[in-house]
């Protein structure tokens, strides 16, 4: 008994040291994010410029309130308050919640509030002051948090919709609503599909059911937030950098953790449990550095929609859909036409045979990880365009991703795409009959029913299920 415990303690101690290194690497991006944010606020406030009032551009938060047809709305009340301690130019610290301001929109729908200093502010729209027949598209989103850089202006927009209680589709014909929901669902399905490809390919090539895949999705959104709202890069550039960074971090994660486990001969079930632990670790590292609030990207928050026939789509959603489709096509091309893509499919079929026929299995797996993580990051960014950034968003959609992957057939990339699109559309369209809060229940139920009828999924093959 005693030597056993001793060996266990020794192994624990050694392992803590080693794995802290891994956790450190994977967590590097959000870690840098938070320290950059804190450092940015205080150091800029301390610069000599801040004492010279004439040289200081105003720090402010502003926005414009429009109805669904993009006509401005006047006399809407908004309340602004600081949600963290901010430092004003004279160096006085204003504790969180101490700064408050109320503002009304002007005739052109615009509003602006000068702020004492950079930091995080929350803006609440008084929905009672909106004109009759108009409400927020998402009634729960009447408060938004914005990160304002010193001497810069932050923008806060609220998406409005017809109908007092929002839910922009209320009061329209069932056919129109179904069309609208199908389009919304397709976009959501594309988002899940991007996340699902990595999950499915990694499962196919290594057998790992990766419960920390959602954290790759979150990481994409967090790094984009970091590069766009804190570093100050233009949004598109920030998103591109984030996808690259996350892809590389995925490769690093594979090399540092999963590759080593595979080499040690750790079983797939053990790796599954490891991925759960890794997921918990990452989520709470994100929470530690990012905080518990949902924050919006400064760019494109609450964009007004464009009416296309019966369907209302925001321009950002259309761009996001095009980007998603482009990436999915590129993935298909990679899988079908390139050496490493074909090799990855060969490994999915039979790793030993693939290795025997001269494929460098570990290299291909590492590449799968890089692409999978990059696509997952893109999924996180697109998801956050409409839903904001938070620390557990990836975990929130992880089960839906699993549903998509299982529906299409575990381990097949094309199955993952098809399955995810079905899950996405079904979730949205199901709100025609079930309350929106229960829409995910339907998707998860379908997952279970599919397993009853066709356990190998839509595109899966029988022998994979065993």
């Amino acid at each position: 008994m005693r030597p056993r415990v001793a060996s266990w303690l020794a192994a624990m101690a050694a392992a803590v040291l080693m794995l802290l290194g891994i956790g450190g690497v994977a967590a590097a991006a959000p870690a840098a994010g938070a320290s950059g944010q804190v450092g940015g606020v205080s150091s800029l406030a301390d610069t000599p410029l801040a004492d010279d009032d004439s040289a200081v551009a105003a720090t402010e938060v502003k926005g414009v309130v429009t109805d669904p047809n993009r006509e401005p709305i006047a006399a809407v009340q908004l309340d602004v308050t600081n949600s963290e301690d901010v430092t004003d130019p004279s160096g006085t610290v204003i504790p969180a919640g101490e700064f408050t301001a109320t503002v009304e929109t002007k005739d052109d729908g615009t509003w602006a509030v000068p702020l004492p200093g950079g930091g995080r502010y929350s803006v609440t729209i008084d929905t009672g002051t909106l004109p009759e027949g108009i409400g927020l598209a998402d009634p729960d989103q009447d408060t938004r948090t914005v990160n304002v850089l010193p001497e810069k202006s932050g923008t806060v927009l609220f998406r409005t919709a017809d109908g007092e209680n929002g839910g922009g589709t209320a009061g329209r014909s069932t056919l129109d609503r179904a069309l609208q929901l199908t389009v919304d669902g397709l976009l959501f399905g594309l988002t899940i599909a991007l996340a699902a490809i990595g999950l499915s390919l990694i499962f196919g090539t290594t057998g790992l059911t990766n419960f920390s895949h959602g954290e790759l999705v979150t990481l994409g959104a967090l790094t984009t937030y970091f590069f766009s709202s804190i570093v100050g890069l233009p949004f598109v550039l920030a998103a591109a950098v984030a996808v690259l960074v996350c892809g590389l971090l995925g490769g690093v994660q594979d090399k540092a953790l999963w590759g080593r486990l595979r080499k040690r001969g750790t079983g797939v079930i053990a790796m599954l449990v490891v991925s759960i632990g890794f997921g918990i670790l990452l989520r709470y590292v994100y929470l530690f550095f990012f905080g518990g609030n949902t924050r919006q990207f400064n760019a494109y928050a609450g964009q007004a929609g464009i009416q296309l026939g019966p369907v209302l789509v925001t321009p950002k959603s259309m761009v996001a859909a095009v980007v998603a489709v482009a990436f999915l096509l590129a993935t298909a091309f990679w899988l079908l036409r390139t050496r490493s893509g074909k090799a990855s499919r060969a490994i999915s079929d039979n790793p030993a045979l693939a290795s025997a026929s001269g494929i460098d299995v570990e290299r291909v797996i590492n590449r799968v990880w890089i692409y999978g993580a990059g696509l997952a990051a893109l999924a996180g960014i697109i998801y956050s365009l409409n839903n904001g950034v938070n620390w557990f968003q990836g975990f929130q959609i992880l089960l839906l991703t699993f549903a998509g992957v299982t529906l299409g057939g575990l381990g097949t990339a094309f199955g993952a795409i098809v399955g995810s699109l079905i899950v996405g559309v079904m979730i949205q369209v199901s709100t025609l009959v079930v309350p929106p809060e229960l829409k995910n229940v339907g998707a998860l139920l379908i997952l279970i029913i599919i397993l009853l009828i066709r356990p190998q999924g839509i595109l899966g093959r029988r022998e994979r299920v065993g």
């Binding site: 415990v5 266990w8 192994a11 624990m12 392992a15 803590v16 794995l19 802290l20 956790g23 059911t209 486990l261 040690r264 750790t266 079983g267 797939v268 079930i269 053990a270 599954l272 449990v273 490891v274 759960i276 632990g277 890794f278 997921g279 918990i280 670790l281 990452l282 989520r283 709470y284 590292v285 929470l287 530690f288 089960l399 699993f402 549903a403 299982t406 575990l410 309350p435 809060e437 229960l438 995910n440 229940v441 998860l444 139920l445 997952l447 279970i448 029913i449 397993l451 009853l452 356990p455 299920v465 065993g466």
Partner: protein, 327 residues
């Protein structure tokens, strides 16, 4: 540093209500994962149906406590059948995905506004444990050195540890019976068992039901111990914690989950208290007081990884006996 206070709280929690709940949840998981090799990631669902079964029976149907317990147990059996029928013929990771999805379905349903009249929405159901406490023989709390338990907690803990002891006895008896040998053989090599003419599917189903019912006992203690049921207490984190408890103590060992639960909660509260004091002292400056709770999840996640990699058999386990890769 007030070590006395920290130690006292840690010991109290290590023997307290939470340790009982997780011990019971992990004993159930032990039957699933440790002995049969089933990857049930929906243990939170079993606790939830039991707790809600009890609470709804007492508050909404206005029936006595024991009816609530019976309904809770029946709900757990029904859930096991519901989960097992579609998935037990499939590979292990399918069961993992389906069970985690089912637990989430249950949580989303009980917290929905639509069913608020029955399950109380996100506020849950409160104040239904009076009958349970009316059976309590204790007229005062317990103060034994650093360990302090209120009158009600004492009753909950006594009932809880009795249930733990009975569950352990049951598992011990089951696992040394011929039935237990078949179950363990399924964990080691399913096909071998099948070739001996055993119906693997039925054995797995029985194991799923027994483990689920044992876990549901934890749900009852959760409900009466806190005198409320809330949907978000039964999120996937609960299942993950129970796995950490099981693997720490030693899967496939009768006392593994019990030892795991005590050590787990002792360490968690100890680390929490120490960190909180260090932060208040100003010794640690890079953590805020409200972030201490987050740091303990880092430790939890990290230790789950490390245990699984370097010591998958936990404190008590025997690596040779336990083929963790069992399907």
């Amino acid at each position: 540093m007030d070590w006395g206070n920290i130690l006292g709280q840690s010991i109290t929690q290590g023997l307290g209500v939470l340790a009982v709940i997780y011990a019971l949840a992990a004993i159930g998981l032990n039957v699933h994962f440790g002995y049969t090799g089933l990857l049930n990631f929906g243990q939170a669902g079993f606790l939830a149906v039991a707790a809600y079964g009890l609470a709804v029976t007492i508050v909404v149907l206005e029936l006595p406590l024991f009816v609530g317990v019976v309904i809770g147990l029946l709900a757990a059996v029904a859930l096991a059948l519901l989960l097992g029928i579609p998935t037990l013929r499939l590979r292990a990771d399918y069961l993992a995905i389906v069970t985690i999805a089912a637990a989430e379905i249950i949580r989303l349903l009980v917290r929905s506004v639509t069913l608020r009249d029955i399950f109380g929405g996100s506020d849950g159901i409160n104040a239904f444990a009076n009958e349970f406490f009316s059976y309590s023989p204790f007229s005062a709390g317990l103060e034994l050195g650093p360990v302090r338990l209120s009158q009600n907690d004492l009753w909950v803990v006594v009932v809880g540890w009795t249930l733990v002891a009975l569950s352990c006895l049951l598992v011990w008896l089951l696992m040394r019976s011929p039935w237990g040998r078949v179950i363990k053989a399924i964990r080691e090599d399913e096909d071998a068992v099948r070739s001996l003419g055993k119906n693997v599917y039925f054995y797995k189903m029985q194991a799923l039901i027994i483990g689920g019912v044992l876990g549901s006992l934890g749900g009852f203690i959760f409900a009466v111990g806190f005198q409320s049921v809330q949907p978000d207490s039964y999120a996937t984190d609960l299942t993950f914690f129970a796995y950490a408890v099981l693997i720490l103590g030693g899967a496939g060992r009768v006392m593994g989950p019990v030892l795991g639960a005590v050590v787990f909660w002792f360490l968690l509260v100890f680390i929490d208290g120490t960190l909180a004091q260090l932060v208040q002292n100003g010794t640690i400056t890079f953590i805020r007081t409200d972030q201490v709770g987050q740091v303990r999840y880092w430790i939890l996640g990290l230790s789950l990884m490390l245990l699984m990699i370097y010591r998958p058999q936990g404190i008590l386990g025997d690596k040779k006996e336990l083929a963790l890769d069992a399907r």
